[in-house]
């Protein structure tokens, strides 16, 4: 099992270089991280995966961007919008993660979308920066949405990923701290471990239905 932070934004988006983020993440207990708009590689034993986020785009643009990025080996994420958009994105081949479910409208994620995410092996991302940085109603709403989403996760067992959205190494949190933060949304330790491995689950090609033994 690999412990992965599913979204960090290194320099020039943030103030920390990707190598420094990798160093700090390793010290905090991570094995790999997805660095947005950064080439894949490894540093000091940390695996760095390349990530792409498609946001504020129409469905036509999403299809075009996913088609372009599909062969690059990057982890492709799309920002959630309304329910119809989310269903269309989840059924799109090549999309790995649906992000920003806490910022989308109230009915954006329902039981049908959850079932589709499980069938298509698309992960739903939990943005921890909201739990860490937000205060008051914004954090309360995020906790409510995540709790709601996790009831679907327990029922349909779609993959879940955890992202710090770190633009600086100061935004990274240790694995133990993330476990504590996830307890706020009703996630137990085994649930957090599964979520840390969510990226591995969506990037690993599916097992063939038929296996040739000899």
């Amino acid at each position: 099992m690999k412990i992965t932070d599913a979204a960090v934004f290194p320099y020039p988006c943030g103030d920390t270089s990707v190598r420094r983020l990798a160093l700090e993440a390793k010290a905090l207990g991570f094995d790999s991280l997805i660095a947005m708009d950064t080439p894949a590689g490894s540093f000091d034993g940390m695996e760095i995966l390349s990530g792409i986020i498609v946001q504020d785009a129409t469905m036509r643009d999403v299809i075009a961007k996913v088609k372009r990025a599909k062969d690059s080996g990057a982890v492709i994420s799309v920002s959630a919008r309304d329910n119809g958009f989310n269903r269309a994105v989840i059924s799109l081949k090549g999309v790995h993660i649906l992000r920003g479910i806490q910022a989308a409208d109230k009915m954006a994620f329902d039981h049908v979308t959850a079932k589709m995410a499980a069938d298509n092996n698309v992960a739903i991302d939990l943005d921890l920066s909201v739990l860490i940085g937000a205060r008051g109603i914004a954090r309360q709403r995020a906790i409510h949405r995540y709790r709601d989403m996790l009831t679907f996760e327990r029922r349909f067992e779609f993959p879940v990923t955890l992202s710090s959205y770190a633009r600086s190494y100061l935004d990274l949190r240790a694995v133990r701290e993330i476990t504590g933060l996830c307890s706020l949304i009703g996630m137990d330790i085994s649930g957090v471990e599964t979520a840390f491995d969510g990226v591995g689950r969506v990037t690993t090609p599916p097992m063939s239905a038929v296996r040739v033994i000899s």
Binding site: S17, R20, L131, I132, G133, L172, R173
Partner: protein
């Protein structure tokens, strides 16, 4: 007022926290208000009254925070939501929890990092672009080296305007 006998005192625990970035000047009172705000925001006044957090010491880039025994977990979660103290960005990394302040002080003494002089990294790096000691070049811009610790190098953009702090590694400066 006479002190309470030991059996009637509340049991307390002390949490050792490392303040990052290294070299951040910590005002104990300001940090107390920041932590108090984080605890109250997350758990509410009732729980904050039970936790009874207090900053008891701030030394060598570390802070010792007191809480009531049994509430360490709640305090630790609240500490992970601290992102700034008086508009200064920082992160609090929990190092250890103990029943005595003295054992945490020993821990600080044992884990004291060795900070190198800024001139050393400049002489050892290839990509300094002829920069003076204590300076370096990254992304074709001149920077002043603020902190070096092993692979980690913190730099500040040169000039009085837009003096951003960047967090890099030696490899970044060499490439």
């Amino acid at each position: 007022m006479s002190p309470r006998p030991p059996t009637l005192r509340e049991n307390r625990r002390y949490i050792l926290v490392r303040v990052e970035p290294a070299g951040t000047v910590i005002d104990q009172k300001e940090l107390y208000y920041t932590i108090s705000d984080a605890v109250t925001s997350l758990w509410g006044d009732a729980a904050a009254g039970v936790i009874m957090q207090a900053v008891v010491a701030a030394e060598h880039g570390h802070v010792i925070i007191r809480c009531r025994r049994g509430t360490e977990k709640e305090l630790a979660i609240a500490l992970s939501t601290v992102t700034a103290c008086r508009d200064v960005r920082l992160a609090l990394r929990i190092v250890a929890a103990s029943g005595t302040i003295e054992s945490l002080r020993e821990r600080i003494r044992a884990g004291k990092p060795v900070t190198e002089p800024a001139s050393e990294i400049v002489t050892g790096s290839a990509g300094t672009g002829g920069a003076e000691p204590g300076e370096c070049v990254f992304a074709e811009k001149p920077f002043l080296i603020a902190q070096c610790n092993g692979q980690k190098v913190d730099v500040i953009e040169k000039g009085f305007k837009n003096a951003h702090r960047l967090f890099l590694t030696r490899s970044d400066l060499e490439n």
